[in-house]
């Protein structure tokens, strides 16, 4: 008990705690001075940071300026003031939606949720279908087919996304073929938000389905053969056997797969980078990356606030599944 409690504190409580603290602070005021700046292109008057004076401020309060929940409610996050302005003065629901989607946090949240809620069930359905199909194959064919089916999952997400990105480029094999099929030389999967969203979601299903497949396939091996046989004797068709024997048997497994996929999909990130899709689709993880990767310096407070909001999002998303699992466990105990 004690070692696992210690590990939990070290690896979960401390990092989350430090992020929470970080999200409440912003950087010190920078002391600015104007100086002459000369270089290959002549001289100009430019401002620069007085590093000595700024360092003094920093030494006094190493954490930065306390900002409370200021970062959480600013425009980059929950945008409380902007939302209030939109709600108090708008031209109908369409206008509200468009203006809310213009705020970076809600734009990222919308795609993240759409991705999670579409990819998770479709991934599970596809994975289950593939598992059933593979299970019906002759023994010799199973090994190679399983290996091939797993390939999308084995490929590094970023590389997989890049490869597909080049294929859907207007010069690429898929992009050019689509243009030929629809006879529209301006058709590009990368140009419109809707097509980009569809591309990313299809990619997500393609990438994660093998995970669902491999778990369900393992589960299929444990379906009791005598129950299946008695169902057959009772005259159940293949479809009925799947529906009334296999599916109920795999239900706990499905909850597990759903849980993992929900968590995985909610932190969608690599395909956005791989597909250069940030113009049309951003996710919460991408927002954090963007805050930490700017050339203007890292915005730690902003990234920390988005991280906390993401954690809260995951908790909300998982609650129904966890309650179900808990009830299931309770039911079995009783």
């Amino acid at each position: 008990m004690a070692p696992s409690a210690l590990a939990m504190i070290l690896f979960i409580v401390v990092p989350i705690g430090s992020i929470l603290v970080q999200s409440l602070f912003v950087e010190h005021e920078r002391v600015l001075v104007t100086v002459e700046n000369c270089g290959p292109f002549g001289c100009t008057e430019e401002t620069r940071v007085d590093t000595a004076a700024t360092a003094e401020l920093r030494a006094e309060e190493p954490l930065g300026r306390f900002n409370g929940l200021g970062t959480y409610i600013d425009r980059g996050h929950l945008a409380v003031d902007e939302l209030a302005a939109i709600l108090s003065d708008n031209a109908g629901p369409g206008d509200i939606a468009a203006r809310v989607m213009n705020l970076p946090f809600y734009k990222a949240l919308a795609f993240t949720l759409a991705y999670t809620l579409l990819v998770t069930p479709l991934c599970m359905a596809l994975g289950f279908a593939v598992a059933l199909a593979v299970n019906a194959l002759p023994r010799l064919a199973k090994g190679p087919v399983i290996f091939l089916t797993l390939l999308p999952y084995i490929a590094t997400p970023l590389l997989g996304a890049l490869a597909v990105f080049w294929m859907i480029n207007t010069d690429g094999i898929i992009g050019a073929t689509l243009q030929a099929i629809f006879d529209d030389p301006t058709l590009s999967l990368q140009a419109s938000p809707m097509l980009t969203w569809i591309t990313l979601i299809v990619w997500g299903i393609w990438h994660m389905a093998p995970f669902a497949f491999v778990v369900f396939y393992a589960g299929l091996q444990t379906v009791p053969a005598d129950t299946l046989e008695s169902a057959m004797i009772d005259g159940a068709s293949r479809w009925e056997r799947i529906l009334y024997v296999t599916v109920p048997h795999l239900k706990p497994l499905a909850i597990f797969v759903g849980l993992i996929l929900l968590m995985d999909n909610f932190r969608v990130f690599e395909p956005i980078i791989g597909f250069s899709a940030e113009a049309n689709a951003t996710s919460l993880s991408w927002s954090i990356y963007n805050d930490l990767n700017g050339q203007g310096g890292q915005l730690f407070g902003s990234a920390a606030a988005t991280s906390v909001l993401t954690t809260i999002g995951v908790m909300i998303l998982l609650t129904p599944v966890l309650i179900r699992t808990w009830r299931g466990a309770g039911g079995r105990a009783a």
Binding site: E36, G39, P40, R48, V49, N169, T186, S192, S276, Q295
Partner: protein, 410 residues
């Protein structure tokens, strides 16, 4: 995404070699952090020649250098003794006070340097520049002739030429630009806005000053150009743009001077296109007299948090790496600032841009935040889902939030 695909290459440590008498260094450890492109590679190869007994020279060339440099130079002693910088990437180092003043080292070892190479801030030398870069026009002369038009010199002229090229069927997508969401898109805005005579901030303050007539005209021109580009223009980075051009899909583009190798010259990937290409200054815009392109320099700084011995060794190694012969032996590699350099034909576009009075990329401490914001907030406008007024208001709001968090605004 260029930054991500880039080769996280080569932390190569060269062992002892005996041919280093040329650098005249007794001892020291030289550790270079650098962006990853060909011209910088040339300089670093020269620096590596100085490795000898007691002198180690190592280099890390990575397109992720901007995110590495501040943490790596903050630790004491620094992970790197030399950082290759440009006018934008110098600023974060200055903001944190991580750069060593070079006046003494220049006096002792810097006889070869020209005055224009010394970057002085507040009277102190903080960096040594050795080459310049800018975006400028690459034109397919053959296609222009086929359509019977003269080479345009302004963006208004480019729009007209593009229309003619398209309507006469010479080219379906006559224009290209590095409009990829993120860094590239922001750089395009900076170019165009400088050409319009615009400013980014209120004088002497970090408050943004974009939501005005000049900002609107800048955006209108950027959007007007996209009408003549391939539809996926929001994913076209500078590298992708070069690919489009050398595969013959684009007739006119404003592309980096440092990418000229491979488009024209001996290393060109398509002979025919190379021969039909002319290089010209970046176009003017909106009746302004100067090219719509920011001027950039590349150079190096010496880290503050290292021993004096390592600093002296690093400076001497870099002096060896940018000695006049390097520029003379590699005239195609870059537009060198090094003394005695005779610019070849391939640097013509870039030099014409500088001579026509293009403005340097701003070095204000908060320009990086503005650049990051532009790359994100202009996207919806460029796709046509948002008005120019709204886009500029978004830029100002998002920038102000970031600048407040970073301590530049209250």
């Amino acid at each position: 995404m260029r930054k991500f695909v880039g080769v996280f290459a080569s932390s190569l440590l060269l062992g002892a070699s005996s041919v280093s008498a040329a650098c005249g260094i007794e001892a020291g450890s030289v550790r270079i952090l650098s962006n990853d492109f060909a011209a910088l590679g040339t300089v670093i190869d020269e620096a590596r020649e100085c490795a000898a007994d007691g002198v180690t020279v190592s280099a890390n060339l990575t397109t992720e250098h901007k995110s590495l440099q501040v943490p790596a130079l903050t630790v004491d002693p620094s992970r790197y003794s030399v950082a290759m910088v440009a006018n934008n990437s110098l600023v974060p180092l200055l903001n944190e006070g991580l750069v060593r003043p070079l006046d003494d080292l220049v006096a002792e070892y810097g006889d070869q340097l020209e005055d224009r190479q010394l970057v002085r801030i507040g009277g102190e030398i903080v960096a040594i520049a050795f080459m310049v870069n800018a975006q400028h026009l690459y034109l397919r002369q053959d296609l222009l002739e086929e359509a019977g038009i003269d080479a345009p010199t302004s963006y208004e002229g480019i729009l007209e030429a593009a229309r003619t090229l398209k309507e006469s069927g010479v080219s379906d997508t006559p224009l290209g630009a590095a409009d990829a969401a993120g860094w590239d898109l922001a750089a395009e805005f900076v170019n165009m806005h400088l050409g319009m005579g615009g400013d980014f901030f209120e004088q002497g303050s970090a408050a943004p000053a974009l939501a005005n007539e000049t900002g609107l005209r800048t955006l209108e021109m950027m959007k007007a150009l996209t009408e003549f580009m391939a539809p996926g223009y929001m994913t076209v980075s500078a590298d992708e743009l070069k690919n489009q051009y050398v595969s013959g899909n684009v007739a006119m583009m404003n592309e980096w001077g440092s990418m000229v190798d491979g488009i024209v010259g001996a290393a060109a990937s398509d002979r025919q296109i190379a021969e039909a290409t002319t290089l010209a200054a970046a176009p003017t815009v909106g009746g302004g007299g100067i090219p719509a392109a920011a001027l950039w320099w590349d150079g190096f700084v010496i880290a503050d948090n290292i021993s004096d011995e390592d600093a002296a060794a690093s400076f001497q190694v870099m002096m060896h790496a940018i000695r006049p012969e390097v520029a003379q032996d590699n005239p195609q590699a870059a537009a060198w600032l090094i003394s005695g350099f005779d610019a070849p034909e391939s640097a013509r576009g870039m030099l014409a841009t500088a001579e026509a009075g293009a403005r340097p990329y701003p070095m204000t401490p908060y320009m990086g935040l503005m650049h990051d914001t532009l790359g994100v907030e202009l996207v919806q406008f460029m796709q046509g889902t948002e008005s120019a007024e709204q886009a500029l208001a978004d830029v100002e709001a998002a920038y102000s939030a970031a600048a407040r968090e970073a301590g530049y605004l209250n």
